[in-house]
């Protein structure tokens, strides 16, 4: 009897120990499982982060390559489609006369575009950008300006005298015809017509000094004032009017030069962005001007004493040297425009005399 009691007691003890063993095993397995689970989850998230970074980098490279490709030649229009993305362009003055231009796609790193001059809305949320380019020549090629817009943007050309039979302002028609057909653009005759296009995300209204502009308190617009005798694409001023200003604000007036410069203002959001990009373009102009100066100096040394040599020396001293380091202001742009005209005449004369050209 005593033996039987002992055996039962021992069995009860060992059963309890078995329960502790089994519980311990389960806790052990759960902890190990949790650790493995956390590890796998962290690997998955790391992979996702890498994939996002790679996709961002790839999108940046794709857009950068496409934009750079368009930089080689002027007057090219194309469209770039990609998954819906937020793009931000930023142009700012880092130090005195030192500007930097960057762009950012979604949450990817900001990428520098040190040589590209791009006029675009500063913030875009789109799946397609429309890219147009124009050569920026100031007597010799300086750069190629790139203009970016989207399908949900519209350019409204304000012309109270417009009629579909060909009447209206010649400047308004010139801009309408020169803009690529794929970019959405319309003529509007009055403020009531502007309201029809309220469904567009971005509405850019263009008007001309001599023809009147929409209600200053109701609309933001760009007022173009071309210089007397220079034509629309010569030089002049653009006013980035803001409806919040109500009245004329001289700080919103900036000068433009050439066709590519005027379109730069049309595709920019504000004076700050436009002025920053134009200042960068004028920096590039100074580099190209110094190259032309070096080339003409070397050529005049090698040329025999002839009309060619005299013409080249005259261009060098009267035009190229005087165009040195221009700033974006009305006086400089007027001066620069005159010098460009003189360079064109010099170049024609050199061609007629069978001489090497300035450019």
């Amino acid at each position: 009897m005593k033996n039987v009691k002992n055996i039962i007691q021992r069995r009860k003890k060992s059963n309890r120990k078995g329960v502790v063993d089994v519980q311990f095993n389960w806790i052990f397995v759960m902890i190990a499982g949790f650790v493995i689970f956390i590890f796998i989850i962290s690997v998955v998230f790391a992979q996702k982060r890498n994939a996002d970074t790679q996709a961002g980098t790839s999108a940046i490279n794709q857009i950068k390559t496409l934009i750079e490709g368009r930089q080689q030649t002027g007057d090219v229009y194309s469209e770039i489609a990609f998954p819906r993305t937020n793009i931000n362009f930023m142009c700012a003055e880092a130090a005195q006369d030192k500007y930097y231009f960057t762009f950012k796609i979604e949450n990817a790193e900001r990428t520098q575009l040190p040589t590209e001059i791009i006029f675009a809305p500063q913030n875009l949320a789109t799946n397609k950008i429309m890219v147009w380019s124009q050569a920026f020549d100031l007597g010799f090629p300086v750069s190629v300006f790139t203009y970016i817009t989207t399908a949900d943007s519209i350019i409204l050309i304000y012309d109270p005298n417009y009629n579909s039979n060909g009447g209206g302002s010649s400047y308004a028609s010139q801009i309408f015809n020169d803009l690529p057909s794929n970019i959405t653009k319309k003529f509007v005759k009055n403020d009531a017509e502007i309201k029809k296009y309220n469904n567009y995300t971005r509405v850019r209204i263009l008007c001309f000094e001599d023809m009147g502009c929409p209600d200053a308190a109701a609309y933001d617009y760009i007022n173009i004032t071309s210089a007397q005798g220079a034509g629309l694409y010569g030089y002049g001023n653009v006013t980035f009017h803001k409806k919040t200003d109500h009245i004329y604000n001289p700080q919103q007036v900036v000068p433009y030069i050439t066709k590519s410069g005027l379109y730069g203002a049309i595709f920019s959001d504000n004076t700050e962005y436009y002025s920053c990009q134009m200042s960068r373009a004028l920096k590039q102009f100074e580099i190209k001007r110094s190259l032309v100066e070096s080339r003409l100096t070397l050529m005049q040394d090698d040329l025999d004493d002839s009309d060619c040599k005299r013409d080249i020396i005259a261009s060098l001293n009267l035009e190229i040297d005087k165009m040195r380091e221009p700033y974006l202001n009305e006086e400089n742009m007027t001066w620069l425009y005159r010098k460009i005209k003189d360079l064109d005449i010099d170049n024609t004369n050199l061609i007629l005399d069978s001489c090497p050209k300035i450019y």
Partner: protein, 173 residues
Amino acid sequence: MMTQNSYKKRGQVQLGETTAVIAIVIILLVIGIVFWNKVSNSNVSDIRTQSQELSVIEIANMVPELTELKCYESGVNKVKCLDWYKILAMNKSINDKNNKDVFLFYNDYFKNSKITISVVYPDVLGNNNITIYDARLNNSTKTLLISIPVNIRDYVNKETFYGTIIVEGYYNE
């Protein structure tokens, strides 16, 4: 009938098995991580080399298209033709020790490369190789060399030469 000792042994065997399984799983995980790391590192290195080589090819494509070097006749640029005086002017301006602005501007285009214009035929200019740009990183860099044939036009003496643009891209291994 089981004794207390045999119960103890059974418990030890079970714990030993579990520990062995966990150890094997951990070893397999470590081997997996090491392998994955090596594969991803080699991928990164491949991508970097590929991107550096592509960058050199881009530079080689860009140089003959630069308006600062191209020949223009009647306002139209000539394909694969460089203006001799533009080459000399660029060489002078980029390598100007007193003014680094031009070098810094072209550094954004040419990056870490060396660009040489070589006159192959005829040998009349005296100076057959002109290095217009050189931004070598350091002595231990690897190079990729691309050579592009071009015509070189001297508008002062009204002569055309045959030459090559040699683009050497420097990059770290």
